[in-house]
């Protein structure tokens, strides 16, 4: 057997492919072959390591050394200097390291001792190889479910873990599963909502690209708990690489007998299909997503009945977000008590954030529930770019809330933020430095909603249009004080009367921008004589 001396991991995700990762990979392999090192050095693909905006990233093991912004031209130098002669190429070494571990809120700094939950394998294993997932304890959860827990035990374990939905609405996962398992109707369905469209959010994409088997196992566990034999993954049409990786993973799981009839002789049968969306933000709403899966316009449905009793084709259906389902195998494998060791009492576990905007190192991170905004920005993301001052952040995507500097020390979790009239939402944190124009940001948010309003109900269809007209007027310097009042009033009516969360959530960015940046917004309108 050949002993491999060095492993070179190259991160292949949408971001690094954009920066030329495929060409770098080829150059590395070619150079390794040219130098006759093919038997000693293995080049392996992996998912995102969490850092974005740093070009092509590779990691050399056993040293664990990260190189950033690697180009094809650098390949020969890396092979020759580092892999052949053992001298790291200093100019390419990554200076801003991605945080591989969860920061414990009580002892930030002791990074090495901690473990990631959702992103544990992301950027570590090859997502296109099921064996690597299995080697990391993959599919042990489903085994424990079959042999020890049985369906009721799975639901109880998830209930005890306190897991709530990570898509934005924070509904208790076990409750959804329990309702669906008890609802009359056959067959039942599991849907994974991978229609990630909230501006600034790409956590689900990186989970799908970096660890697709974790999602498959999570869906199997959901199916087993609820009594469903079929699952659908509804994924954005724009996420080409995610679709490719997921389809490969499903094929592998079928080959291993982990999907299909009578899985591992348990008597449980389950299979998955990937469905590709076509560009509609509103399809992230679960009933609109179901309509779209059925081949219709993605209009939200009346609720009740909820999908857990009447969902896809009128049958009991569980709809869970990618991140939620990615938590499930870890909880089942390690137990609810272990999971509760992370996060806060009311919100156990971690949250995956995408931190972007004017920060030094934008990227994907996983932090415990209850971590402060300050830690997330300054500990994980390296602080504000170019040493500028923090002005505020838009947290939770376009449907989220603005936060000012006074919120830096607020503990971030679903329950606590509610008290500040803010939301964690999808986990997007868009950081703004002192030069940011708040009215311009609000304008961008409202234009987004006008474009994405599906036209189904009057308050949202007409409201978004009027809000855009008004905010454009204010941004153009022609606004009046009454215009600001109209923004608030219209968005309140929309909050109270819109058919689905799309129209209902617009009030949040408007009211929060006024809460923290009142003087700035009022300073932009013509002052009464």
């Amino acid at each position: 057997m050949n002993l491999v001396r060095n492993h070179v991991l190259i991160s292949i995700d949408a971001g690094t492919i954009m920066a030329g990762a495929r060409a770098v990979e080829k150059a590395l392999v070619d150079e390794i072959n040219r130098q006759g090192l093919a038997g000693e050095i293995a080049v392996l693909e992996t998912g995102s390591i969490g850092a974005t905006g740093q070009g092509v990233v590779i990691v050399v093991y056993p040293e664990g050394l990260y190189y950033a912004n690697v180009t094809s031209e650098d390949a020969s130098e890396i092979v020759e200097e580092h892999l052949l002669k053992g001298r790291p190429v200093k100019r390419l070494i990554m200076t801003e390291m991605p945080r591989q571990q969860v920061i414990r809120k009580e002892k930030a700094g002791l990074l090495k001792e901690q473990a990631r939950i959702v992103l544990r394998n992301s950027g570590v294993i090859n997502p296109e190889n099921i064996d690597e997932y299995i080697a990391e304890g993959g599919y042990e959860g489903i085994e424990r479910a079959f042999t020890e827990l049985k369906p009721a035990g799975v639901i109880k374990e998830i209930k005890d873990s306190g897991l709530v939905g990570r898509g934005g609405a924070a509904f208790t996962t076990a409750m959804k599963w329990d309702f669906a398992s008890k609802a009359p109707g056959d067959p039942k369905y599991i849907i994974c909502n991978a229609d990630e469209g909230e501006p600034g959010t790409f956590k689900d994409r990186l989970i799908l690209e970096g660890d697709p088997h974790k999602l498959i196992e999570g869906m199997m566990l959901a199916g087993y708990a609820v009594g469903a034999a079929k699952g659908f993954i509804y994924i954005r049409g724009e996420y080409a690489l995610s679709i490719e990786r997921l389809e490969k993973a499903i094929t592998q799981a079928r080959l291993y007998g982990l999907l299909g009839e009578n899985i591992l002789e348990s008597g449980f049968s389950f299979d998955l299909a990937v469905m590709k969306g076509a560009g509609a933000y509103v399809c992230g709403e679960e009933t609109a997503l179901i309509e779209s899966l059925e081949g219709k316009r993605g209009h939200p449905r009346n609720k009740p009945p909820y999908p857990v009793t009447e969902g896809l084709w009128g049958k009991p259906t569980v709809v869970n977000n990618v991140e939620t389902l990615a938590n499930v195998p870890e909880i089942i494998r390690n137990g609810a008590a272990w999971y509760r060791g992370y996060g806060t009492d009311k919100c156990p576990g971690t949250k995956v954030y995408t931190i972007i905007g004017n920060v030094a190192t934008p990227g994907l991170i996983e932090a415990e529930m209850g971590t402060t905004l300050r830690d997330i920005i300054y500990e994980y993301a390296g602080g504000i770019k170019e040493g500028k001052k923090f002005k505020g952040a838009l947290v939770g995507g376009a449907a989220g809330a603005f936060m000012g500097p006074e919120m830096l020390d607020a503990k971030m979790d679903f329950v606590n933020l509610k008290e500040y009239a803010a939301v964690l939402g999808s986990g997007a944190i868009l950081v703004m430095d002192e030069s940011t124009d708040i009215v311009g940001m609000l304008q961008s948010v409202l234009h987004f909603f006008k474009h994405e309003s599906c036209g189904h109900c009057v308050p949202c269809r007409l409201g978004t249009k009027q809000l855009v007209e008004i905010v454009d007027r204010i941004a153009g310097g022609k606004g009046k004080v009454e215009d600001i009042e109209s923004l608030v009033k219209i968005s309140e009516v929309m909050r109270d009367t819109s058919f689905c969360p799309l129209g209902q959530s617009l009030n949040l960015p408007i009211s929060s921008s006024l809460k923290y940046f009142r003087d700035e917004v009022y300073g932009r309108v013509q002052q009464p004589a």
Partner: protein, 152 residues
């Protein structure tokens, strides 16, 4: 591939309608769903023409009018806005001499907006057909488009 061959790839179930329309559109040299595409889809799924048209018009990835050989989809959501997407869009409109949704006179490019592409770490970003590009500046956009022009 002709229309029949595309349709045959799928079971005639309504739930396949998005897949069928994606394929029909990709196959159309003018990158849109022509009347004939919609008719073929409606016949195959045994639903009225108006039904297919209504579904197609709902989703932004489908176009009901002819487009250029290359589709530029530029992101205008808040993260890209914060990093200067506005001026980039103005620049593109000026240099291509088209408005949003318009096609250049030589039929080479159609300029469209897209919702968040999920590559916010390298905002502002755009897609050219299936390929993503980030950290865009006017110069970078020029070189990407020039390269594309030369490839054809």
């Amino acid at each position: 591939m002709n229309r029949e061959a595309i349709l045959k790839k799928f079971e005639p179930n309504l739930s396949n309608i998005l897949y069928i329309m994606h394929d029909l559109q990709d196959n159309n040299p003018e990158k849109y769903l022509a009347k004939e595409d919609i008719e073929a889809c409606a016949d195959y799924l045994n639903v009225p023409y108006s039904y297919v048209h209504s579904v197609a018009s709902f989703y932004t990835m489908f176009s009901l009018k002819p487009r250029g050989r290359n589709i530029i989809r530029i992101c205008e959501s808040p993260p890209c806005h914060l990093m200067g997407a506005d001026s980039l869009i103005d620049y593109l409109k000026g240099s291509l001499k088209v408005d949003i949704g318009g096609t250049t006179k030589d039929g080479m490019f159609t300029l469209e907006l897209t919702s968040c592409l999920g590559v916010c770490g390298v905002a502002p970003a755009m897609m050219l057909n299936e390929e993503m590009f980030g950290n865009l500046t006017p110069e970078k956009v020029d070189s990407i488009l020039d390269k594309r022009r030369k490839e054809i």
